[in-house]
Amino acid sequence: MSDQTLQLEAVLKIHLLLVDDESEFKEVMQRHLSRMGIRLSVSECCLDALELLEAQPIDVVIMDMNMPGMDGIQCLRKVKERWPRTEVIILTGHASVKSGIEGMESGAFDYCLKPIDIQELIEKIELAAQKALINQEDDIP
């Protein structure tokens, strides 16, 4: 089985959550991902996201760093603390070495810069999905 088919299978098995307050980006992502048959939920801010995570299992989270309310790193830490098997991809329009390292140290799966090519982001999601499924199989973070 090639890597590609493995990933595509993985991505169809997962539940994805997009946390971003930028409505245009959210719409574009929603259109693309639903066309691919991916199960997707969206939320505007970290607190909403945490509520959603509490209510149902989520495998992969895509999270913008700069949102109203709680800052991205804090939110990431909360998610990884409570749901260590969930993989989080960080997205940011304000790249900084400091936040990049903080994000990775706090357990992010990847740290991506906006503007991001939609295809590239989908590839990252596929990899994260694969990892999330392995986490479930192995029962390890």
Binding site: D3, A95, S96, V97, G100, I101, E105, E120, E123
Partner: protein
């Protein structure tokens, strides 16, 4: 490592060996193998991403493109995040045995952060300073221009106009009180700099914002008080309000004529004039100049000089070292009235050349045609030369001086600053223009040498700027500073008026743009769309493309040279890109010796490959052990399967394998290259070379020709279906090929490393040159350091990469021991031609 550390490590090891099962079962081993392969794959992806982002940073530094802080920060972040991942994956593969790397990494990323976040401290100090209180020590408060002028005024025998300076503390207060920076940043972030129309619109909005902002009351009072004091000494006086920005006169960047100067200002218009100068920091030309030269707008802090107007009869510019290229003379440019007409190129200008040494004899005098009597008498010219040399002596470098002489014959210095490096590289005409029928115009003065070719675009006003096509020849009546935003996209500049001393001429030299000025009737004789060649060095314009003119080498300058952003990039690259760990066999190849992120990347990559091999050995894992690959060449090849590298029907109990049983596409391509053209064996070397070779071998451990093992070492291929890593010690050199042909563009790349050899240094370097030339021909990106070479190609289609792998296969075999016959200079050239020919035949044949 302290004794305590050692004991702790020992204890940990003992505990591990006590708790871990002595030999894991086959299923557990398989699981571990899969997990390691996955980490290895992720490490390789992060490795490829790191190298790609590093290459982007290095290219940006070299090619002189417009740098932005956003770009630098984004690429540095990508590099750091990916190096973090590399270390993480290696430690997962190696059960945390390389945690020492984290220390080196942590130190490096902190240093990078500090450089990227480096900001100037906010200015504190007096809001307004009298010019007599100002010297070079106050430059941080008053800007270089006013600091230099204050300093000049303190030199005996030099007169400057009375005046005062609004300091950075004052202008900072104005911006802060009106919350201007957040609002300006908001507009700038939405600006499309490539779109000139957008640039003009947004620039207008920012300038309006500044002009409309009220002056803080305490500042307004101070300003008017200082004006009144000037008026006490000279009743009814008028002032000139000029910019003096911090970081403006850095020697490499002239900022010539970028900002507004308001002349003849009275008390009633003083506040508006000050705001107009501050607003001129955001004119389209200033914004695009800063972008082109790598300055952040917040970094340019603006101060304002308010100087009593000099009632000038004659004014001009003095370059204390001729910009025409002579070392023993100085230039004086002059025109009646104020100097404005000279610097914006609208005025006819007289030009005098004087000796730098006293008594400053006049070498040449070129009056403008309309001058009835000389604008500058000999005595005045000599006084100017004396003043200029005194300033040069005081400031320690050749100066660019603006001056005026008033009705009473008093000489005032209005500005003195170092001549920009670009200005001193003015060209000397070398070739008389060919007198053929292609010649359209001839004459004028060279603003910046060189030649350029393109379609004519005549620009009369701002509206024409918007339709200016890329690589067109910019033709204007006057070389006004307003046209500055077009210099970066133009192929050449032609103007009907102007001189070498004008702002646009200075800027064209900074950008290395061929510029021909004072070329009469240019806008009349050159029409929009005409294809022309401008030979600025030889002062001629031709119809069509004239190859003879374009072929002459021109030194292109990098407009980013010396800019703060370039300095930032150079500083961070020092921590990122130098590679110190080149030789895995060297005792220095250790985690603790990693001094850059590139070192860490290189170290981790090497160790990860070893980890994959070692896994098989340590756990005696049947599926991971090596199979000997059968070959007709007398070289030992061994292969290790990471997953999917062998065809399904291959019998795993065998100890050898045929190439037909290999399912790894990259290896098949390399193999095809190795066997595509028969190798005729090692080249025949002369006696002297052989003696040198034996001597050299005796000096180097492991290279003793008597020891067969050195020449018969096993060469390993680490394989999966899409991945291939070859580490080979072929005779006396070390070669590494790594290829990944994944589905994602980021997972498609080839890296080739080559180092060493048996011959002396110069011969080894010559072989590297040969390799570099051939690889360059086939589209590889090359990095060389002594006798080590790294070549990379990435993100190409699978077919392209397979062809490039064949090239490597050919080279690995055909360059064996070739260093031994590289004694003659030029030997590499004949080999290069043969190799390229044979490889091309091989690729075409297939």
């Amino acid at each position: 490592m302290t004794l305590l550390d050692r004991l702790l490590t020992l204890l940990r090891r003992l505990r591990r060996s006590a708790t871990a099962p002595p030999s894991p079962g086959p299923e557990e081993l398989h699981r571990q193998f899969i997990a390691r392969s996955r980490s290895f794959r992720d490490l390789l992806t992060a490795n490829a991403n790191t190298l790609a982002a590093m290459a982007e940073l290095e290219t940006a530094l070299r090619d002189g493109r417009t740098l932005s802080m956003t770009f630098i920060r984004a690429r540095c972040t990508l590099v750091t995040v990916n190096v973090f991942k590399i270390i993480h994956h290696l430690n997962r593969m190696a059960d945390g045995r390389y945690s020492e790397l984290e220390r080196a990494f942590s130190r490096l990323h902190r240093q990078i952060e500090t450089i990227l976040d480096g900001r100037r401290k906010p200015a504190t100090g007096a809001l307004i300073l009298d010019l007599r209180q100002v010297g070079r020590a106050q430059a941080d408060l008053t800007g270089e221009k006013m600091a230099n002028l204050g300093e000049a005024g303190s030199i005996e025998g030099i007169r400057v106009p009375p005046g005062f300076v609004l300091t950075t503390a004052a202008t900072g207060l104005f911006f802060q009180r009106n919350q201007l920076y957040p609002r300006i940043n908001h507009i700038i972030q939405q600006m499309d700099i490539a779109d000139l129309e957008d640039l003009h619109g947004k620039s207008g909005a920012i300038q309006e914002l500044i002009r409309a902002a009220p002056m803080p009351p305490e500042l307004e009072t101070l300003l008017l008080d200082h004006f009144d004091r000037l008026a006490e000494a000279r009743p009814g006086c008028r002032v000139a309000v000029r910019s003096s920005a911090l970081g403006e006169d850095l020697g490499q960047a002239s900022f010539a004529g970028l900002y507004h100067t308001e002349l003849d200002v009275g008390r009633d218009t003083l506040l508006d004039a000050c705001k107009a100068v501050l607003a001129s920091k955001y004119t389209p030309r200033a914004i695009s100049y800063r972008l082109a030269k790598g300055f952040r707008h917040e970094e340019i802090e603006m101060c304002i000089g308010v100087l009593t107007m000099v009632e000038a009869t004659v004014s001009g510019i003095c370059y204390t070292r001729s910009i025409g290229g002579r070392n023993d003379t100085l230039d004086l440019f002059c025109a009646p009235g104020t100097a404005k007409g000279i610097v914006d190129g609208t005025r006819a200008t007289g030009h005098l050349l004087l000796e730098r040494a006293p008594p400053h004899r006049i070498v040449r005098r070129l009056e403008a045609e309309e001058a009835i009597a000389p604008w500058l008498i000999d005595a005045e010219a000599t006084t100017l030369a004396e003043t200029g040399m005194r300033l040069e002596h005081h400031f320690g470098a050749p100066q660019d001086i603006e001056w005026s002489i008033d009705r009473d014959g008093r000489l005032y210095v209005l500005q003195s600053r170092p001549i920009t490096a670009a200005a001193l590289h003015a060209p000397v005409a070398a070739h008389p223009p060919p007198a053929d029928d292609r010649l359209v115009l001839h004459g004028g003065v060279t603003g910046c040498g060189g030649a350029g070719c393109g379609a004519v675009c005549v620009v009369h006003g701002p509206e024409d700027m918007l339709r200016f096509p890329r690589r067109a020849v910019l033709v204007v009546r006057h070389p006004l500073p307003e046209w500055a935003p077009l210099l970066k996209r133009a192929a050449a500049l032609v103007a009907e008026t102007g001189s070498e001393a004008g702002h646009l001429a200075t800027l064209s030299r900074e950008f290395g743009l061929p510029a021909l000025l004072a070329l009469d009737r240019a806008t009349e004789l050159l029409a929009d769309g005409d294809m022309v060649t401008v030979d600025a060095t030889n002062r001629a314009v031709y119809r069509g493309r004239v190859e003879e003119a374009l072929r002459r080498p021109v030194e292109r300058t990098n407009p980013m040279d010396g800019s703060p952003l370039q300095r930032t990039l150079i500083e961070v690259l020092q921590l990122i890109s130098p590679l110190n760990l080149t030789d895995p066999a060297s005792p220095d190849f250790q985690a603790g010796r990693c001094r850059t992120l590139h070192d860490i990347t290189r170290f981790c990559h090497e160790k990860s490959v070893i980890e994959m091999f070692e896994f098989g050995r340590r756990f005696r894992f049947a599926k991971g052990t090596a199979k000997r690959l059968r070959d007709t060449l007398p070289i030992e090849w061994w292969v290790v399967d990471l997953g999917g590298a062998f065809v399904p029907h291959y019998d795993l109990s065998r100890t050898d394998i045929d190439i037909a049983d290999i399912a790894c596409r990259p290896l098949q391509a390399i193999w095809a290259g190795m066997h595509g053209v028969p190798w005729e064996g090692p080249p025949v070397a002369g006696l002297r070379t052989m003696v040198a070779f034996l001597f050299h071998s005796a000096l180097r451990d492991g290279l003793d020709p008597a020891r067969t093992s050195a020449l018969r070492e096993k060469n390993y291929f680490l394989l999966s279906q899409k991945y291939c890593n070859l580490s080979a010690r072929l005779g006396y050199h070390y070669a590494m090929i790594e290829a990944m042909l994944g589905d994602r563009p980021g997972d498609r790349y080839i890296t080739f490393r080559f180092k060493g050899g048996a011959a002396g240094e110069s011969q080894r370097v010559r072989r590297i040159e040969l390799l570099a030339a051939v690889l360059d021909h086939f589209g590889y990106r090359i990095d060389r350091l002594g006798d080590a070479l790294t070549a990379r190609v990435e993100r190409e289609s699978e077919q392209v990469l397979l062809d490039r792998l064949k090239v490597l296969g050919y080279l690995v075999i055909h360059t064996r021991q070739l260093d031994l016959v590289m004694a003659e200079a030029g030997a590499e050239r004949s080999y290069r031609d043969t190799f390229i020919q044979e490889i091309e035949d091989m690729l075409n044949h297939e």
